[in-house]
């Protein structure tokens, strides 16, 4: 920036040169796309890991060609060892929760569209924004490095419970440097997330365009804003936890390791630490984290639904307040991951009440989405199919949560496939449906080209049916007591009936996973060869549709938009059709009875 004596413009200079434009960019749009690309890489790796796991579970002694290249020790001759299964499980969870579900719906779409939807030229702190992406990238590299060290990735799960994760190499393969890389990666990820969330909040509070009051922000913006508030608090607690874990592992401290442990025939030189302390710190972060994963998807889906229905929701305000209450309650429930952990049983009861109470705002939102569909004029596109599919998946995943929220039922269901079914439906499917919907919806804006709608619909139907085929059976398995995180099933009760169910799941997972390549192909092909898109292909009302596709580097071309009304003027008798854009002073009357 040039030095002048007059006050300088807030915006950064137009980017010049390849590095400034595409690598170390200060432009929130480029950064958003970078997060998306990172999430895309992470999700395909994570999906590949899940394939390997599912194949091993139903064909335990099978030789997976090429696996020995990934790890000579973990899969000699291509046959997976039990410990390598756990390594893949740990990396699958870590990649998916952190690098996909925190990155894609939140960091990627949020970075791209939050400033646009509030009428700002960029985020409040573009340099911090760039730093937060590259720090996330560094965290990803550190994590992936664990695959390539001789001892392999850690085997303690994405939850990394102490003392298994804290004592170091005596605990098992991958628990020496693999677990340390994990801890370091997550600590770096925390810093990146904190920077990112700080940016989102400051931008939302201070950079809104004229006329853009808080209640006139689109629901997607509200979702990103609430998510970043949750995220700020959550990651601020995970970072100290990771630091203490790293110290226990390398500096001989005993934050999480009690006395008298004999591991691998060695008496561990620690004393006084508390394994439950790790669980409390981790889940204090971990529970809000799952709402960080789902809230942006709820916002994106609401936003797309309204556009697809051509009429506003029954009440956007109620949706927003519900999201706020979910955010608030999310901090009071972390103990429901620890009902049988050995913590005070009174605490378990105490935690179950807010957990059950979260059902209320979640139900309110579901009823509002459903009720809004009544009397609408739903336009079916790939985006709206995924948005509607989200509602179905959210209901499915949500009702299983209702079981787990009750400590007495959790006595039986904890640690079984029932839990795995629950969180995969809400996070692995519903949140991902939000990402798919957002991609099909916003791809034209981001690239200036349309995605192929036919392939999108095929992708949808296979994924929708496939996801049910994969994850619904997990609940049946949980009900009979099939334990999770097992690399093989050697329990007496795992008869042919249940193993057939597992085979069905594996085949469904392979097919559903394969369908994701349709999406990937669509994404890449359309980027270069898709039909050129207009500025407003969906007849949308919010500010992103008022700019060219793709937008110029400074969003509004140096002009500052003025906003005249709420973001969802649909179902009205407007001069352009059944909608009025947010930056148009036109007042139109509603056509909704």
């Amino acid at each position: 920036m040039q030095e002048t004596s007059a006050p300088q413009a807030h915006v950064h200079a137009p980017p010049e040169g390849f590095i400034r434009k595409y690598v170390f960019s200060l432009d929130h749009k480029v950064i958003g796309k970078q997060y998306y690309a990172l999430a895309l890489v992470a999700v395909f790796i994570g999906m590949g890991l899940s394939w390997l796991m599912r194949i091993h579970l139903v064909w335990p002694n099978s030789r997976i060609p090429g696996l020995e290249l990934l790890s000579k020790v973990g899969a000699p001759g291509g046959v997976m060892t039990p410990e390598y299964y756990l390594s893949l499980l740990t990396m699958h969870g870590t990649l998916m929760v952190f690098f996909v579900l925190t990155n894609a719906p939140f960091a990627a779409f949020g970075n791209y569209f939050l400033p646009i939807q509030i009428g700002a030229e960029d985020m409040a702190f573009p340099r911090f924004n760039m730093m937060s992406f590259w720090t996330t990238f560094l965290a990803f590299v550190v994590l992936i490095l664990a695959f390539f060290i001789p001892d392999g990735p850690p085997i303690a799960g994405w939850t990394s419970y102490a003392p298994l994760s804290a004592v170091g190499k005596d605990a098992g393969p991958g628990m020496q440097w693999g677990a340390s890389l994990w801890g370091l990666s997550i600590a770096i990820f925390c810093i990146a997330s904190l920077l990112g969330s700080l940016n989102f909040i400051a931008t939302t509070l201070d950079l809104r365009a004229k006329g853009m009051t808080l209640m006139r922000m689109p629901i997607s913006t509200w979702a990103w804003f609430i998510t970043s508030c949750i995220s700020l608090l959550a990651f601020a607690v995970l970072l100290p936890a990771c630091i203490l874990l790293i110290l226990d592992r390398h500096a001989g401290t005993s934050f999480f390791i009690p006395a008298g442990l004999v591991i691998s025939d060695r008496l561990q030189p620690h004393s006084g630490g508390s394994p439950l302390l790790w669980q409390h710190l981790f889940w204090f972060f971990g529970h809000p984290e799952v709402y960080i994963a789902i809230l942006p998807a709820m916002g994106i889906v609401s936003h797309i639904l309204i556009n697809s229905m051509r009429k506003p929701l029954l009440s956007a305000k109620v949706i927003i307040y519900s999201m706020m209450s979910i955010g608030f309650l999310s901090y009071m429930v972390w103990g429901h991951h620890m009902f049988v952990s050995g913590m005070n049983p009174m605490s378990s009861l105490a935690f179950s009440f807010p957990t059950l109470t979260i059902t209320i705002p979640a139900t309110v939102m579901t009823l509002i989405w459903l009720g809004s569909l009544y009397g609408a004029d739903i336009q079916i596109t790939s985006a709206s199919l995924f948005a509607l599919g989200f509602i179905s998946m959210f209901v499915s995943g949500g009702v299983s949560g209702f079981f787990l929220a009750q400590p007495s039922i959790d006595i039986y269901l904890h640690g079984t496939y029932f839990v795995v079914g629950h969180f995969h439906l809400v996070m692995g499917v519903a949140a991902l449906f939000g990402v798919f919907a957002g991609t099909y919806f916003w791809f034209p804006k981001m690239t200036g080209r349309m995605m192929n709608d036919g392939w999108g619909k095929i992708h949808f139907f296979i994924t929708f049916i496939g996801a049910y085929c994969v994850f619904m059976p997990f609940h049946y398995l949980g009900l009979v007591g099939n334990v999770r995180r097992y690399s093989s099933f050697v329990d007496d009760f795992m008869g042919p009936d249940l193993m057939n169910l597992h085979r069905f799941i594996t085949i469904s997972a392979l097919v559903t996973g394969a369908a994701q390549f349709i999406f990937l192909f669509n994404l890449i092909y359309s980027r270069f060869k898709g039909t050129p898109a207009s500025d407003n292909p969906w007849n949308g009302t919010t500010l992103e549709w008022s700019m060219p596709s793709p937008p110029p580097w400074d969003n509004f071309g140096g002009k500052h938009p003025i906003v005249y009304h709420d973001p969802y003027q649909y179902g009205v008798k407007g001069s352009k059709g059944d909608f009025v854009m947010q930056d148009s002073p036109e007042q139109a009357i509603s056509s909704v009875d």
């Binding site: 006050p7 409040a124 509070l205 201070d206 006084g272 710190l281």
Partner: protein, 201 residues
């Protein structure tokens, strides 16, 4: 920069003030985050305190002097503020005195860091290392993380001081304000940590 000339000066000022507001939001959000992290460390301390191997360590008395240095830094940075002239942009060429007081603050901050290092040396002389007992673990962790944050503040102070002294440029007052708020916060945080360590360790 052609983009500046096409931008309406009115809207540039609007931009400036929203950038200032964002700066203020940003620093308070940052402080909130750091507070939450130390709250997590505090709760870890309380949990750990309940176990049978919790002992007691005697804190080196140099810590009192270090506290004094840090709190003086809060005073000097406020004095520096008085000599920073200009509106929402500080005019470096008119603010030489302000730069000198910034320098004092920086020196006091560095003095604090050196003093903390000496405190660690004194503990080590007593045979108290990071992993010796839970009390010493918490002491080292809390003080070290605090010093890390302080060093970040010192880096910004050094940058600001250099900016004023070496160039004739302007810089945003909001950057100065944020740095000052951050500095005061680290002082308050230190007092909290010191009292916590004194009472609990």
């Amino acid at each position: 920069m052609s983009s500046v000339s096409t931008v309406n000066p009115q809207s540039v000022l609007l931009q400036s003030s929203s950038a200032d507001r964002a700066s203020r939001s940003g620093i308070w959000l940052g402080l909130f985050t750091i507070t939450m992290s130390f709250a997590a460390f505090t709760s870890a301390l309380f949990v750990r305190e309940g176990t049978s191997d919790w002992g007691h360590i005697v804190l080196p008395s140099i810590l009192y002097f270090n506290t004094f240095l840090l709190l003086c830094g809060s005073v000097t940075i406020e004095i520096s503020r008085r000599y920073m002239s200009g509106g929402s942009y500080i005019d470096a060429s008119q603010s030489r005195k302000g730069a000198i007081w910034l320098l004092f603050t920086l020196v006091l901050g560095l003095g604090f860091c050196v003093g903390q290092y000496m405190a660690w040396q004194q503990l080590r002389a007593q045979g108290l290392y990071l992993a010796t007992n839970p009390n010493s673990s918490f002491f080292y962790v809390l003080t070290f993380i605090h010093v890390l944050h302080l060093l970040a503040g010192i880096a910004v102070l050094a940058y600001l001081t250099a900016r004023v002294v070496a160039t004739r440029s302007t810089f945003r007052r909001s950057l100065f304000d944020s740095t000052a708020i951050y500095w005061h916060f680290l002082g308050v945080l230190w007092v909290y940590l010191f009292v916590l360590c004194r009472m609990k360790l």
